[in-house]
Subunit: 368 residues, 2 copies
Amino acid sequence: MRKQELDTPYVIIDLDKTEQNIEAMQAIADKAGIGLRPHGKTHKLPQVGRMQVDAGAVGLTVAKLGEAEVMAAAGIRDILIAYPIVGEAKLARLVRLAEQADVTVALDSLDVAEPMSRAAEAAGVSFGVVVELDCGFGRVGLPPGQAVLELAQAVAKLPGLRLRGLLTFAGQSYDAADEAARRSIGLDEGRVAAETAAQLRELGLEVDIVSVGSTPSSRYAAQVAGVTEIRPGTYVFGDLTQVSLDAHELESCSLTVKVTVVSRPAPNRAVIDAGTKVFTMDGGDSPIGTGRGYVVGRPGITVAWFTEEHGMLELSQEEQDIGLAVGDTLEIIPCHCCAVISMFDEVAAVRGDEVEAIWPVAGRGKVR
Amino acid sequence: MRKQELDTPYVIIDLDKTEQNIEAMQAIADKAGIGLRPHGKTHKLPQVGRMQVDAGAVGLTVAKLGEAEVMAAAGIRDILIAYPIVGEAKLARLVRLAEQADVTVALDSLDVAEPMSRAAEAAGVSFGVVVELDCGFGRVGLPPGQAVLELAQAVAKLPGLRLRGLLTFAGQSYDAADEAARRSIGLDEGRVAAETAAQLRELGLEVDIVSVGSTPSSRYAAQVAGVTEIRPGTYVFGDLTQVSLDAHELESCSLTVKVTVVSRPAPNRAVIDAGTKVFTMDGGDSPIGTGRGYVVGRPGITVAWFTEEHGMLELSQEEQDIGLAVGDTLEIIPCHCCAVISMFDEVAAVRGDEVEAIWPVAGRGKVR
């Protein structure tokens, strides 16, 4: 099948570009001599997870236990759940997961670690643990200092748990004013993590994982001695948010949404068959002045606004002259690719114009 | 099962409140002597669609062909697809749908109507058509005037199509400054639709549907003579956006998200296991000063900000004194219920504390 035959809206993954994105980030990690552990929450696709591991990634990161189960079922062996696992139902699933994969969990309290320890011990399995360090984002994690050292020491003593090291996420890189600020955040994140790891080693603890990074900060944090791995996610496809952060080239964005024009109520207005239930409200405006998306090959079209199932396009005079009719299809690069893929049950994996496969988004809807 | 046993995040539908919401809107329509055709895009649940029809609704509205297929499969007979159906693949499905339900489609151009006519004629079926009139929202639809009359006349002549009347959507009611402005928008929408319907009748056309309304404007548009039906959607559950528009009472909101605290990194901060991939970025802040959601029974907790899988809560001193620990669960009324339900594969239908049923969100992911 050719992509021209796909009904709309449909998510199209360009395989050539995706492979290049995977290789480019792997090269950054390889050059720094550290591991790459891509975040699977971006793609939620075991097939892409396998591509990343086959290209040299040390394993995968996921946000949810359900995503971990999907990746383990696809044969991914080394999985970091960058999320505290809380509650009996999830602990029972975590035990089953640990029987088929090497599982490490990020956490920031004994309230999470102790029930994990009891569940592991009762089942005769073990879970890796990384302690989450907050380097300024203010989400999960303890700030650098005595508390984080004490938590790591306590975790190291709990049966069924293996203290692996530390994890940070410098999400503030998304709000940084410019590239210099992002560089500073990335370097700082790496430095704080490496210093804390050194303190843990002084206390006699083994630390083999010092895991850092968001897509915009990864390339900087990777340069800091002592960091052992980076966890970028969005780099695999790229999107307009990453372009606006100088973290991705527009031409390398490999995920598009194919849409159809369903109404032309005015010469300068067209309506497409996708709104927030496809593109979501995530992300700011396009950095290249095209609104809430970028229409590939039609830079004079602005993705002006969305309602749930409608997208309103504004056409420049030049685009009106080129023409756009009911039934015409377009491909649009979204503001936030991770959000878009969450809205679809399946995507098309495409090389050139040829649809190589329809992939179920196996990790979608794994909210628990 | 009791709702206390549901793992998180989980969407909980309170059946008692939902039934009351359904009855209250049906009473508004009944009092005005017009039909209620609820928008199914809010719930995407055939079970709730049936509740609405059983309570007196004339049929259902949907946004997507895939949603119509789900509702028809559940035995809903009268379905309005408030969306132009474009492309051969969808027309083939529309033909099959018309074999099992009475289907009416909204459109605003002959570019949509003519292929529909050809498909209907070839298959020996017929589609109802309502012409979409733009009463100021600037989305799909032609403005009042000659063009809309000409389109209706042309549609009436096309084989396989049955001109049913007109449809408007006053989405600008969501941006109105106050209740007086919303009232004005609703009355204006009804008046414009009724006047255009009268013009069509003068031209000798039969008009049995004059369909208006968003949830905030429905109760006003319903009062205008000549309007035959209203199409509110969100009223069935309510959410903080509707509360802020004086269109719903907080106490009547019947959809909540059950969540678990997974981190307590600071005395005034808690992190829950749901972010934008559950709550989405839709909707503004809560009208009652509680941020991006309202924690039932805990008014001193602010839902401060989200990332994809994390929700950050801020606790007042009083809430800190009450206490909130890792593992505690909360129920949160979201900003936009239609968006939240789209993120889940299933929801719990609950009466009191008892889970009466787990419903698959059968209309979710029906993007095409």
